[in-house]
Amino acid sequence: MQLHFTKDVLPDSVGTDFQNLNKLNEQQFHHLIEILFQFLLEPKETERFMQQLTEFAGEHGMSAGPLRNLMKSVLLVPQGALKKNLTGEQIKEDLLTLGTHPSPLCLRHYAALTRLAVGQTLMVNQLVDMEWKFGVTVGTSEIQKLGTVFLQLKLVVRKGNSTENVYMELTLPQFYNFLHEMERAKASMECFS
């Protein structure tokens, strides 16, 4: 199968999942697409996404587990397409190759999604190591008495063949926010694995 959205070899289950999409009637299909794109627009809302899928499964007499797996396959297309900046035409071709009918609704949603994605950084790097140190600033040349805690982080990041150090300084609230978001990201990954 020659696909635009991925160069990876897809497992057979993905093909089967897309065929199963065809079994939905138009109303069910539209509802599912709405749920899908709502998640794509707000990718942190994993729990809500899972909840909506469970409700959908209940409403239409399906099992939640297989439906979730089906959606994981379906997600590959828009996620891959966004990473590669695919056009509507290319997505149409991919959906036809996968054996499902490209719906105008999908393409409209995708167009809206790409408009949001423009300007997002595409340079993705690997985190090699993270070092930290923290202390309390008791005074500076600008202000004599102070008592603020600062945390300094050094992220060692691999960019291509070399590594680069990224430094940042966080207040305690910023650190706790960072920690909270990483925990949310982990919870989201657990939903999908």
Binding site: K7, F134, L151
Partner: protein, 204 residues
């Protein structure tokens, strides 16, 4: 009638005082904008022309510098109410150029009461020499199969975008990719940091 004239004169004098207070308050606000709040549009010339057009340039410079110096002393010491009152009282008792009038002291006191927190925040922000974490967003992507690079990525991958920037500068974005193992490693380090924080900060 003498009575009415007296009242009229007093009212006029009070209005002049009110105007002087307003100008001085505006001057203090203008100095804060320039020195602490990074407002590059405020200049000494602008302040003079807007607030003290009639004053001679030398006289204005003297007033401006005096107020700026006093604000700096107050801000550097981050004076609380008691310290400020003591400081201002000492200044009003001083004779000659270094002294303050009661109205000037009142204007400074009012200014510091309302602006202390904001000025301190600005000073703290300037003491941060590394970029701060202005924002953070993430999403989880799914991988269908092992990546061709050889690193087995056959699971969800978190893409985290960090927005970093120094005070007054544009943001820089760093996008990092984490598989589940990496996320767990980072969370473990953060747990170590949290432990350190608890040990040191909460025990003092």
């Amino acid at each position: 009638m003498p009575c009415c004239t007296a009242i009229h004169v007093t009212t006029r004098a009070n209005m002049a005082e009110v105007d002087a207070m307003k100008s001085l308050s505006s001057l203090l606000n203008g100095i804060a904008q320039k020195v602490y709040y990074n407002n590059s549009e405020i200049t000494e010339e602008l302040l003079k022309s807007e607030l003290y057009p009639e004053m001679s340039p030398d006289e204005f410079t003297a007033l401006h510098d005096k107020m700026k110096g006093l604000l700096k002393s107050i801000a550097t010491a981050d004076m609380d109410h008691a310290q400020l009152e003591a400081f201002l009282t000492a200044k009003t008792k001083k004779q000659g150029g270094g002294g303050l009038s009661a109205e000037q002291a009142a204007a400074l006191s009012r200014f510091w009461k309302s602006q202390r927190v904001r000025v301190k925040e600005s000073l703290v922000a300037h003491s941060r020499w590394e970029p701060s974490l202005r924002g953070l967003s993430w999403r989880v992507d799914l991988q269908a199969a092992a990546s061709r690079r050889g690193t087995a990525h056959s699971g969800p991958v978190a893409l985290v975008e960090l927005e970093l920037g120094r005070t007054g500068q544009d943001s820089e974005f760093v996008c990092l990719e984490f598989d589940e193992t990496k996320v767990n490693q980072v969370l473990k380090k953060m747990a170590d940091i949290q432990e350190s924080i608890d040990r040191i900060v909460h025990s003092t």
